[in-house]
Assembly symmetry: C2
Homo-oligomer: 153 residues x 2
DNA sequence: CATAAACTACACTAAGTCAATAGAGATTTT
DNA sequence: AAAATCTCTATTGACTTAGTGTAGTTTATG
């Protein structure tokens, strides 16, 4: 039931790009340093995200990456699906990555019915959440942490 | 975000054992045939479940496996956790398999907060569901399928 | 126009996981 | 004693993961 490091890194990178959405581009090295992600590995991931139409890049000295669409329009579900495949715990309940399973009768499979519930729960969270939500949360968590100090003065 | 075949096979085997809970033991071969699970692989899995205290076994000619506890007391969460580890998508939000992640500040990590929601959603489903529920569903799905034919007559 | 920062592309690898398979044995009923 | 069954450890082949390596191409800037 795990997300790979690849997927986690992708979300972390998108968060950075989302927080600096107004800026023209962010160099890969800056993301790599901020988020403790190996630079070369991050390159691959951002390239994937580029082919998915999630980010776009500018080459050369002042180059880097930026979101290809507004943060509100990039759902976490899309990103994860592109990088890792199905969100469903078993592929026989996946909508876009369906594969028949080895059980004797899929239509009467009790496990399938349970897994469908899990799938729906996960998808309903990930489909709604966007990079913009991620940014909002990040800013909120920053405030919560900084807040008490401000009130002390 | 996937469950391995190992975990799926375990659930399918437990369903069979649950449906025949009254019987003394079910031989491994019978489970293997009913559910299309390679016998030798199933042996390993049932052995794991035995060391987890979920099933118990009887050796010899009329041997086999049975549930070590009543079906209502075996939650799917317990089973999966024992076979596959954490239910959480990233280990920094897991309660029993916690591991620090590489992000700069865990307490202010927006991705973490999202993943915690996903974890909670999955756990709330899997913690409540037991092998007994699985059996009830299986019986219900059997009826739904057979029902319409009966009414035709 | 040279240079250096940055992206691009493709290949490679070490380590680990997954899904079995193999072989040798231990137990127990008949 | 025989046959069916579980027990335990090891091994294997395919695949995935998380990177590294090498060799470029592009472009702003001094």
């Amino acid at each position: 039931m795990k997300l790979s490091l690849r997927g986690e890194y992708a979300l972390r990178a998108l968060l950075v790009l989302g927080l600096h959405y107004k800026q023209p581009v962010i160099p890969i090295q800056s993301i790599s340093q901020q988020q403790n992600i190996p630079k070369r590995f991050l390159e691959q991931i951002l390239n994937d995200l580029k082919s998915a139409g999630v980010v776009e890049s500018k080459r050369g000295v002042a180059g880097g990456y930026r979101l290809a669409r507004p943060p509100e329009e990039i759902s976490l579900a899309t990103v994860i699906r592109h990088l890792e495949g199905a969100l469903a715990p078993v592929s026989c309940v996946s909508e876009r990555f369906y594969e028949k399973c080895s059980c004797p009768d899929e239509s009467r499979c009790a496990i399938r019915s349970v897994m469908k519930e899990v799938r729906d729960a996960v998808v309903s969270i990930m489909d709604k959440l966007t990079v913009a939500d991620l940014c909002a949360r990040a800013r909120r968590l920053q405030e919560v942490h900084a807040g008490p100090l401000d009130f002390m003065i």
